[in-house]
Amino acid sequence: MKTIVLLSDARNPVSGRQQLSRLEAQAIGLAAGLCEKPRGLHAGSGEDGVSAGLGHGLAGLDIIDLPATDDPLPALAGFIAKAMGGAGAPELILCGRRGEGGEETGLVPYRLAETLGLPILADAVAIRAGEIAGTLVVDQAMAKGARRRVTIKLPAIVTVHSLAPPPMPFAFGRMRRGEIRHHEPLERLGLPDTAARSDASAEERPHRARPKLMRQSGTASGGPNLHVGPEPDEAARLILDYLEANGIRRYGSS
């Protein structure tokens, strides 16, 4: 199935140079497992960072030339809508759960899904083609190592979680062989722009690192919870009762 990976304008936090976001490199890895020739799509200026995606497994890269300050969403939506109308329409659009370099709200895939009328699934860690043609089986990451396996009809948009398999190794020759096409942002799908509507009191300034809260240690054992020299059977009963009373595990009938 034809797959597109959306690439954002990530920067190295120290040097400020363009680079490929790790999450998007993982998305390329997932796409390469599904599709022989996955293509990348980037709307922005410059190709230094995103061209590394070719070395990680993309067959080609489409770049919509936009000034860095422009909202990439209408141009992306227009490009994908046009591609879906033509032959060899993309069936799957992959992206990271939050793009880097811009506003970083993680809303682009959701707005794109709304504009194009596609279903969206978040936090994929594994993807494979379904048994029925035109379906996709997505494993979503959940808390505590659980996975939710969802079968979805294509075409669809899927965002990738950081617990997905690590990206494929970078190959310089593959990056040189990859084909980069530049496009003009011809067609833009109009969207109500919420960014412009955001609060007038908004103030942008250099980032200041704020420490996270210290993790406090939990409860200490008081008198009733200290048992000196109980019989092993009694100790085992105390431990299991404590586990069940605090809802850690249930070892009863289930």
Partner: protein, 419 residues
């Protein structure tokens, strides 16, 4: 305490007489000082009596910054602060549970409460909601919205929600597709028109926040790093810039950014509202949940770790115990250095720093570097032969016994219970 909090500076300002000259002149006879804020006075008597430990003749106080448990807060209202004086007499009219009958506005906090228990992040979200609800003149109500609120476990969950600072509880249907949950949330937003809405920047909550933002066509303030009643701050452009603005409608919050609520319990009154049936997503054909296998999970991802130290010598039995307890096996540095457990299992400053809920330490004395690794664990159980070990002091349940004897007893008891 039923009296209102005084603001001496405002009172002084009120009494000041406008007069020419450099010296301020005060009208001493002026008695009509108005209260600057609607907050009640704090009552040190109640706080001290709540931290009183034991009933011995010599008074012992526990003043650690510990979250108030339900038992404590109940004691807080019943305790005799002084001989012959009931606490309720010291502060008459103050209810044991904080009740907000007619809230001026609402603040929603969408929490997961997996398994009917509140996680750290859930408590922090409710703390943030409480902060925003008490902002300015106060009078707002924090509403916990959860899919886990079902009538069977409702009592326990409602109590812990109240302790975490929720005035109201709303439920959303949980076992439908995320688009259906988002539609139910949108229904609640339109019905109650909350002033703010907080989500976790994690898992399904983050997904819901974005679906709702698109559906309401509202901007989303994702990953708040710093939140006060007046401003919310988040990073953008690869963490090089930040944007600050008055707290907007939709916000998501990462872990360890806000303090949980720590005062007396709130009411957590369930709100009854008819939620129509929301259809699932037609594109989703099937959904199946695959539970995580604790044995193969990474230590940083799991919720329950059973760990072996120098007091354990039979590692085959330890492995069996971890399997039947459905826990992830871990080890101390000594054991990993000896090659008895893989290096990936090491817990501590130089191994894995855990995010688990529960930690069962078998034969571990608790070196400082090891205790750093379990600083985030809420429940710690220690089995050790040394009464004076640091791990025994840290543990919520401490058993002074040989771990080698307790392990087979545990396996036997588990087999009995599961039979």
């Amino acid at each position: 305490m039923s009296r209102l909090r005084k603001d001496p500076r405002a009172e002084r300002q009120e009494r000041q007489v406008a007069a020419a000259g450099r010296r301020p002149r005060i009208d001493v006879g002026h008695r009509e000082a108005k209260a600057a804020s609607g907050r009640l006075r704090r009552d040190p008597w109640r706080e001290w009596s709540a931290s009183l430990v034991g009933e011995s003749r010599r008074k012992r106080y526990d003043r650690s910054q510990r979250q108030m448990e339900h038992g404590n807060s109940a004691r807080l209202t019943r305790a005799r602060a002084r001989d012959g004086v009931e606490a309720t007499e010291i502060s008459p009219g103050q209810p044991a549970v904080r009740v907000i009958d007619e809230p001026a506005f609402l603040v929603f906090a969408v929490i997961t409460a997996a398994g009917g228990r509140l996680s750290r992040l859930d408590r922090q979200l409710l703390g943030a909601a409480r902060l925003l609800a008490d902002a300015g003149d106060g009078g707002g109500a924090a509403v916990a919205i959860t899919a886990a609120f079902d009538p069977v476990t409702a009592k326990d969950l409602a109590r812990s929600l109240g302790e975490a600072g929720a005035d109201r509880v709303l439920s959303v249907p949980g076992d439908i597709h995320p688009s259906g949950t988002a539609a139910a949330l949108r229904h609640h937003v339109e019905a109650f028109a909350p002033r703010h809405m907080l989500f976790a920047e994690d898992g399904d909550s983050a997904d819901l926040a974005r679906r709702l933002a698109v559906s309401l066509n509202e901007p989303l303030f994702a990953g708040v790093e710093h939140l006060t009643p007046r401003s919310a701050v988040r990073a953008l452009r690869n963490g090089t810039r930040e944007v600050a603005l008055a707290p907007p409608l939709l916000m998501t919050l990462g872990e360890d950014r806000m303090k949980p609520y720590e005062s007396g319990p709130c009411e957590a009154r369930p709100l009854d509202i008819e939620v129509g049936p929301f259809g699932g997503d037609p594109a989703i054909l099937s959904v199946e949940i695959i539970p995580g296998d604790p044995a193969s999970l990474a230590l940083s991802e799991t919720d329950f770790v059973v760990s072996a130290g120098n007091g354990v010598s039979d590692f085959a039995a330890f492995g069996d115990l971890a399997a039947v307890l459905k826990a992830t096996p871990g080890a101390s540095r000594v054991v990993c250095d000896a090659g008895l457990m893989p290096r990936a299992a090491q817990v501590g400053a130089s191994g894995t720093v855990l995010a688990a809920d529960c930690y069962l330490a078998l034969g571990i004395s608790g070196a400082p570097q090891h205790l750093q690794g379990i600083a985030g664990c809420e429940h710690v159980i220690a089995v050790n032969t040394d009464l004076h070990a640091a791990m025994i002091e840290r543990a919520g349940l401490a058993i002074v016994q040989d771990a080698q004897l307790v392990m087979p007893a545990l396996v036997k008891l588990l087999a009995e219970r599961q039979a």
